[in-house]
Amino acid sequence: MKALVWHGKEDIRYDTVPDPEIEDDRDAIIKVTSCAICGSDLHLFHNFIPAMKPGDIMGHEMMGEVVEVGRGVTKLRKGERVVIPFTINCDECDQCRRGNFSLCERSNRNKALADKVFGHTTAGLFGYTHLTGGYSGGQADYLRVPFADGTHIKVPDSLTDEQALFLGDIFPTGWQAAVQCDIQRSDVVAVWGAGPVGQMAVRSALILGARKVVTIDRLKERLDMAAAAGSETIDFEEESVVERLNELTDGKGPDKCIDAVGLEAHAASHLDSMMDRMKQMTMTANDRAHVLREMIYVCRGGGTLSIPGVYSGLVDKIPFGMAMNKGLTFRMGQTHVRRWTDDLTRRIEEGEIDPSFVITHSETLDQGPGMYRTFRNKQDSCVKVVLKP
């Protein structure tokens, strides 16, 4: 079959690879009908997440049709249409039973390594590092789904691929980011990053009743897209984020802050981010934490920082004393996708929200490597790329 394969830093190719096969009774194979490129894929593209290996198949946002099931699979049948969550779930371990699906204790087949690196293992993830199991991803014609009974979301016939696809990652990710904020009716929620995750977080915060949402980015078309939902916007290259946020909150600061940017924060003119960039350039540090620092500084005392943005390793110069004295709450994590998807599927079906608004580019899979460039370079007003095998 054909797949997008990671060969090294900034080197992804459309290659021919062996078809996946059932390896375990609990596996299923799906024929991928749609997949997408995520902001997390860009961190892998840039090799900021350790333990990728040449030959790894990319992709963790995908959906399709079941074409084969193992003998132990009871909840899926051939021909069914499913979205695959990016987290692999056994549905039996203690964490899965608590709904902490991104922390499944059984699905990471490199558990021993992950236990060493993280203290305790996290779930197996598709198309991600070998620290999370090194499972082949879904930017491919076919995908093997381990623990298939726990690792799928059934798609109602009434939804198109475009409407359903993001149930596997960015929609629940933006939703969880907003839920973690415990939004009250009087809250101002500030969202850093107007990428796909930020866009979903903005809409989730509005649905959950925020009084005002403010989105921060530097890309006009993305800010326009956030404004289309009813968000105020700040262009961080044109205005001071801290000043504007204080202005918009009568000097109080936002009650809740969401970091939908992660470890590749951009802010050319601030000394701290120039230092971070220098460290990345000389490969002496991995993460650029400008957004985290800005959130801690500007957030209202007693507020919450919700962090869906991905960080990978050691983060330098976090003003923890400031956070402690202001009594801030930090909530973060890879998304517990299936904890939210029944509710979110219903919301899409009822027409409360249609996540396909975010798709700006739809191409065939063979165009994928070029689309990584377009998405990374933010060219052609690209916000979200969907690929069709």
């Binding site: 900034e10 009743g209 078309e221 326009d224 409360e352 070029g370 689309m371 060219q379």
Partner: protein, 175 residues
């Protein structure tokens, strides 16, 4: 023209020619670094730079840094700084023109020509990388119609307390 061709390179490979060329120059930097550190005396004698061995050695460190940064994600500024390094090398090598030794003189001329070639190639790669990564290709598109709310924007009042509670504690699917 589709979006992929827009960003300059084959669509089925993410690496453009200019990025591959930059990587090559990055590895060349490591090669030069080794030469500068391992054989500064020989280099000095070849080009009439006797007495500048320590300077040549320090170029080794500079080239190693250039190599590392070209291989990082900040490849465009790294290629420009490589080009700046070429200029410094040209300046240093040019002092060798004062030599009386005709063999050394010839070596210096050849070396200068080679360095000028490097400078040209480094600058071309840097310029190409810069242009294929700028955003300004294609008009900014209008997304003001993409609210994502088919039934209109939610109002703060429409999210009932009960619904927020449900969102916080959904029924677990597991078990």
């Amino acid at each position: 023209m589709n979006a992929a061709t827009l960003s300059g390179g084959p669509a089925d490979r993410s690496m453009t020619w200019s990025l591959r060329a930059a990587r090559l120059m990055g590895w060349a930097s490591f090669g030069l670094a080794v030469a500068f550190v391992a054989a500064p005396g020989r280099i000095a004698r070849t080009f009439g730079l006797e007495g500048k061995e320590n300077l040549i050695r320090s170029f080794g460190a500079q080239e190693a840094m250039a190599g590392i940064s070209v291989l990082s994600t900040e490849v465009t500024p790294a290629m420009w700084s490589r080009a700046a390094g070429d200029v410094i090398h040209i300046g240093t090598l040019a002092t060798g023109l004062r030599t009386d030794d005709s063999r050394q003189h010839r070596n210096v001329v050849v070396g200068l020509a080679a360095l000028a070639g490097f400078l040209l190639v480094d600058s071309l790669i840097a310029a190409k990388l810069g242009s294929e990564r700028t955003r300004s290709r294609g008009e900014a598109r209008d997304y003001s119609g993409r609210s994502g709310f088919p039934k209109g924007r939610p109002s703060a009042a429409s999210a009932s307390a009960a619904e927020r509670q449900q969102a916080r504690q959904p029924a677990m699917a597991a078990g």
